[in-house]
């Protein structure tokens, strides 16, 4: 937002690009979870574009992004976050868009030293080089600490009016925002990508491990964001809705999975991902019973619909808390 504003202030025409990778935190879980419905569900990129008075192009890169997640040339950060590859990928995509749409240069909000992996003095040139953008990539917030880029040399922007921010502190950005009259902005320190979340990446690693293959589809990674995930056996896992909003979301997926729901008591929809024999289905039913309002009842009646559409009922005693090993929880 600030980088775009700094260049807009110089009279340059700016349009925004926002990439949808499937791992974006914003929106999804708030939209799904009923308890979060009081929170504003705006898309921050759209909101920023509107505040700046610029157009925004939201680009679906889910397919292209898979290779970044699965085979990051520069490796992962603390979790499955391929930050440097991700940055290079997005700038490369932006550069391609620029060429197709007759724009002249790219602006990012990167700051030298702000992030430990992708925004170091030695990695900023990697992004420029590997994206192909080269010196058509301008970082207005730290431009004075870097070599002049094409837009500066050509006089399309005035380098003297750009910034020299560096390091992790966001205070200079906040001061600049105030000088522009910007008082509301997104969380300044990341948290916008599920790949930096250890709980999420544990579930993604489990998905890859049990499939024996590091691949995913959009529905896979969406489902990892929702519900309680338990893997009681290597051949199947359960996704248990935690509240009404999640149950409604999971309803949209039930036809693709064997699914269970309590009939004698209120309780969540449970999806079974994998293959399950009769014994496995009984265990799944006991777990579904455990997460229902019949958890303390001697028996709970569970409706089971197999993936092939065959339905039947099973009456089972719910598993007790002690009977569910902690390692089943993903």
């Amino acid at each position: 937002m600030l980088a775009a504003k700094a260049v807009l202030e110089q009279g340059v025409h700016v349009e925004g690009i926002n990439f949808f990778t499937g791992f974006c935190v914003e929106g999804h879980t708030h939209a799904i979870r009923h308890k979060d419905r009081a929170k504003p569900k705006r898309n921050n990129a759209l909101w920023v574009a509107e505040q700046l008075g610029i157009k925004l192009h939201i680009i679906d890169v889910v397919e292209e992004y898979k290779d970044v997640v699965i085979n990051p040339k520069h490796g992962y950060g603390a979790n499955l976050n391929p930050c440097l590859d991700c940055k290079g990928f997005m700038v490369r995509q932006a550069y391609q868009w620029l060429q197709e749409n007759d724009f002249d240069f790219i602006i990012t909000g990167e700051v030298v030293g702000q992030r430990p992996m992708s925004q170091r003095r030695d990695t900023l040139p990697v992004v420029a080089r590997e994206s192909g953008a080269g010196d058509r990539l301008l970082r207005p917030l730290c431009a004075k600490l870097l070599s002049p880029t094409l837009p500066e040399r050509e006089g399309w922007v005035d380098r003297d009016q750009l910034m020299s921010f560096n390091g992790r502190s966001r205070k200079p950005q906040m001061t600049l925002a105030a000088s522009f009259g910007i008082t509301e902005y997104a969380q300044p320190a990341g948290g916008c990508c599920f790949l930096t979340d250890p709980n999420y990446t544990q579930k993604l690693e489990d998905l890859w491990r049990t499939r024996g293959d590091r691949r995913y589809e959009l529905d896979d990674i969406m489902l990892l964001k929702i519900g309680r995930h338990l893997r009681p056996r290597a051949n199947f896992k359960l996704v248990v809705g935690r509240e009404e909003g999640e149950n409604n979301f999971l309803e949209g997926y039930r036809h693709r999975f064997t699914h269970l729901r309590p009939l004698s008591h209120k309780g969540p929809l449970v999806l079974l991902d994998g293959t399950a024999d009769a014994e496995d289905l009984r265990l799944a039913a006991q777990l579904a019973a455990r997460f229902s309002q019949g958890r303390d009842a001697p028996e709970v009646n569970i409706g089971i619909t197999r993936h092939d559409g065959h339905s039947y009922e099973l009456s089972v005693p719910p598993l007790s808390h002690e009977e569910i090993p902690q390692e089943w929880y993903l």
Binding site: E15, N18, F20, C24, E26, G27, H28, H30, A31, I32, R37, P40, K41, R42, N43, A45, L46, W47, A49, E50, I54, K55, L56, H57, I58, I59, D60, N101, M222, N248, G252
Partner: protein, 81 residues
């Protein structure tokens, strides 16, 4: 002018906006597009996207499960960037 429908049910933000963005590229100035969604986030995002891009939201209908947002497409002369 013609009327069109975009089914964006069971898609989560920002997919309804992406589908809308891609659909409007194929429509003409003045066309009417009804977008059917289930993500409550669309209630903010689609009008915001329309404001940014100069399209008009004509009507928003909402029940417990679905939103129907009716849009009039506006295409500036000389094409849309």
């Amino acid at each position: 002018m013609s009327e069109h429908t975009l089914d964006a049910r069971n898609l989560l933000c920002p997919m309804p906006v992406i589908r809308l963005q891609n659909t409007t590229k194929t429509l003409a100035d003045g066309d009417i597009l009804k977008v059917i969604c289930t993500d409550p986030g669309a209630l903010n995002d689609i009008p915001a996207w329309c404001r940014i891009n100069g399209h008009s939201v004509l009507e928003t209908q909402k029940d417990d499960k679905e939103l129907i947002i009716t849009i009039r497409v506006s295409k500036p002369q000389g094409g849309d960037h």
